[in-house]
Assembly symmetry: C2
């Protein structure tokens, strides 16, 4: 959305990012920090993630600035009373100046693999954490959920109908975008359709049917205006009765929609009614709390459904309502030296050093990933590096904005994931190994922390 | 947010709202529709809801308009090729002209009770459905989740730390707002703090600790800038070791934070360390995937935690990741007559007629709600009507914007809910009865549908 480049969003962050920034500005002005955004263990809820949200993240970084009003607000918080005026001058001239590496949108990544890396003066890198996490966590969660539905639906189309259950209107637009990245064929969200050139879909609602005195009249009236795009909603009163009435219907119908009841059973009855009345080309669209598990069963049973409308389950992803992405400091570069950093917190430890994902591809399938240091590309010449430099000194240098291409890329990548990792009912951990050098580094850093008086 | 009054948001809707609007404009231009936004059965996941999002909903309605660019986009969709130009002229001059009734923010409502009612030309009422649902569904879900945590935490404060796990930056702000409505004492989100005058909270992150060569140095440096607001994060390397180091610490500390490990056990150890070192007034803040169930256990065991920071669980509400609010047509007013409408879909039926919630309050507790027709106030003079007229002919006539007052209202209301309905581990259905007149109407409408050739 344009809004990601235009609005004042500097305060869309956690307070501690700004207090820490004031601290870094005072004590670590020349220090560079390397932060990595990644998700720890995907299993048991997910086996892979489809990366999304990079465009919004980079647009934010490229245009981030503090308005006078925002600075005035901060300056007047009692909390900031000991902070030097120089820090607020810095904010007034703020321009993100770092480099960013990222997995392109539509990439498939696995546990512990960086989605995005920020290499910047630590003051700047800290301020942007919250925004980057919220956008990438969310879009990646949705693209992944959509990808699972896409896979379960086989050749049938899945459409995002989730706007009304997303976390507000902006989230609805981002969900539409991310679900298209993950493989949906379109969305009901008009704004997203316009902004991102996503195919827009729609049927009719129960209110349309109820607003007329008879169901058949409501069908005919709609058809008179939208003769090429009439999808009739059948379940307002009695689904099968409504389907039978369609016989009398003279207009052209594109499809019918079922939104309640036993969809498996009713879709078969309706298919028969349609077929025996010369309406073989009228498609059946199902909605009503569908998810990948339900769609998978329909696929297995060859249920005669031609298209799925998914809403709540797509935009809230209830089986994994957060992917838990984090943004962690892995390197400090100061006074000409690199210091590698790690946290050892119980169940939340991290791996030091700026990394690259080196992917082995065999027979057109992803077979293994090596998580190595960025600098050891020479050791993995036969592997494909996944992270690309997308921003240099605060300017975007590489970014695919064409969402159709991103979607094609995501579908192409998904084909290269072996079936066992795509099984929605199990969780097989894809092999992600640490390179020898990275293992050594991790041991060394742990030792340093234990002996170094941290 | 101001953005809810200023941006172009007319296309933030589902496509079918606009195609149906074109249809209503052609066939039902003079028809008024009454739509109700409500949640069907709350149990087993919730027993009550805390209403939030009304301010954003009304700001949207009062300022909604279509830009030339938006109309141009619609006009050029092949789908709209048979729609008369007159409809686009109507959009160009669009101004929401309806009346709205709503439960004030911070109200407590129960299953099937309307949160909001729109009485407007049906064309207008249909267009606004998606936006109203997304904003009210979301904020009400969060306010309710926050209310459950507020209740579980007893007298201890709960703070929203969820921005990084919300559905993007705007959702983070709305979540901060709604969680304050529900009883949180504040948020980490700076934008929300500024916009809604919510107290802002912050500690430090692991990155701050790691960026210094020693943990204690990082503590001292932070304290030098924020002497009155230092909350030290203890679990970067070894929580208990870090707590012991604080002895050497000469500065004033407000608190310490635990973000991993066995918080029950470690908080007790740390309380002892602090107390035996003359730091009785240093508070302990816990975070790390807390929710009302965990907080409730801490409360029961008198775990020495003084404040809870809640993130992921607050903003994604995983045990009820959508409250499933719907927006249904209950009355049609045309040609001087009222026609009551209902859908009979399996498991998704609705109750006709514009309703009022008549609440019985006994001994300062809510004892029973009667869902009656709006017009039968005379029958329930001893009850308190919950829905208020908040918008007339498209203008806001009643709206509390002071979030502190809304929060006080929500807490006051929660006190009037009996304990059995607030038990987070069970789901007791609050008695919501239909008035005699409403029951009769429901039967009549069902009969009409069955016999009327729908």
């Amino acid at each position: 959305m344009k809004v990601f480049r235009e609005r004042n969003q500097a305060l869309m962050t956690d307070l501690y990012q700004l207090t820490m920034a004031a601290g870094y500005f005072k004590y670590k002005r020349e220090t560079m920090g390397v932060f990595e955004l990644f998700v720890r263990d995907l299993c048991p809820r997910r086996s892979y993630l489809v990366v999304a949200g990079i465009e919004q993240a980079l647009d934010y970084l490229e245009t981030l600035s503090f308005s006078k009003e925002e600075i005035h607000f901060l300056k007047n918080l009692p909390l900031f009373k000991n902070v030097d005026g120089e820090f607020f001058d810095f904010l007034e001239n703020f321009k993100f100046s770092g480099d960013v590496w990222a997995a392109p949108e539509g990439s498939i990544i696995f546990s512990n693999e960086p989605i995005l890396q920020v290499v910047a003066p630590i003051t700047e890198a800290q301020i942007v954490e919250t925004f980057l996490l919220s956008i990438i966590n969310f879009e990646t969660m949705i693209a992944t959920k959509a990808s699972r539905m896409f896979h379960a639906a086989k050749e049938k189309g899945v459409v995002d109908f989730g706007s009304r259950r997303a976390q507000g209107p902006e989230a609805a637009i981002l969900a539409a975008r991310a679900s298209y990245v993950g493989g949906c064929v379109g969305t009901s969200n008009v704004y997203a359709g316009k902004e991102y050139n996503i195919p827009i879909y729609g049927t009719i609602a129960h209110s349309w049917v109820m607003s007329f005195e008879s169901e058949i009249e409501s069908f005919k009236k709609y058809n008179s205006i939208f003769p090429d795009n009439t999808v009739l909603l059948l379940d307002t009163y009695d689904t099968i009765e409504a389907a039978k009435k369609i016989k009398e219907f003279k207009g052209k119908i594109r499809g019918v929609r079922l939104d309640s009841g036993n969809i498996e059973l009713e879709s078969r009855k309706i298919r028969k009614i349609l077929d025996s009345n010369g309406m073989k080309d009228v498609i059946i669209i199902a909605s009503s709390d569908l998810n990948e598990y339900v769609i998978d069963k329909f696929s297995e049973k060859n249920t005669p459904i031609d298209m799925y409308g998914v809403g709540t389950e797509l935009v809230t992803s209830p089986d994994a309502p957060s992917i838990g992405g984090v943004y962690k400091l892995v390197e400090i570069r100061e006074k000409g030296k690199i210091r590698y950093t790690a946290k050892l917190s119980e169940g939340k430890s991290t791996i030091p050093g700026q990394k690259q994902i080196f992917r082995k591809i065999e027979n057109n399938y992803f077979s293994e990933d090596i998580l190595g240091l960025h600098s050891e590309g020479e050791n993995f010449k036969k592997h494909t590096p996944i992270l690309e430099k997308v921003m240099e000194s605060g300017r975007i240098i590489k970014l695919e904005r064409d969402l159709k291409k991103i979607r094609e890329n995501s579908i192409k990548n998904l084909k290269m994931v072996k079936e066992k990792y795509k099984d929605i009912n199990t969780c097989e951990e894809f092999p992600v190994k640490l390179s020898k050098n990275l293992k050594k580094l991790l041991e060394r850093v742990k030792n340093e922390i234990h002996t170094g008086g941290h």
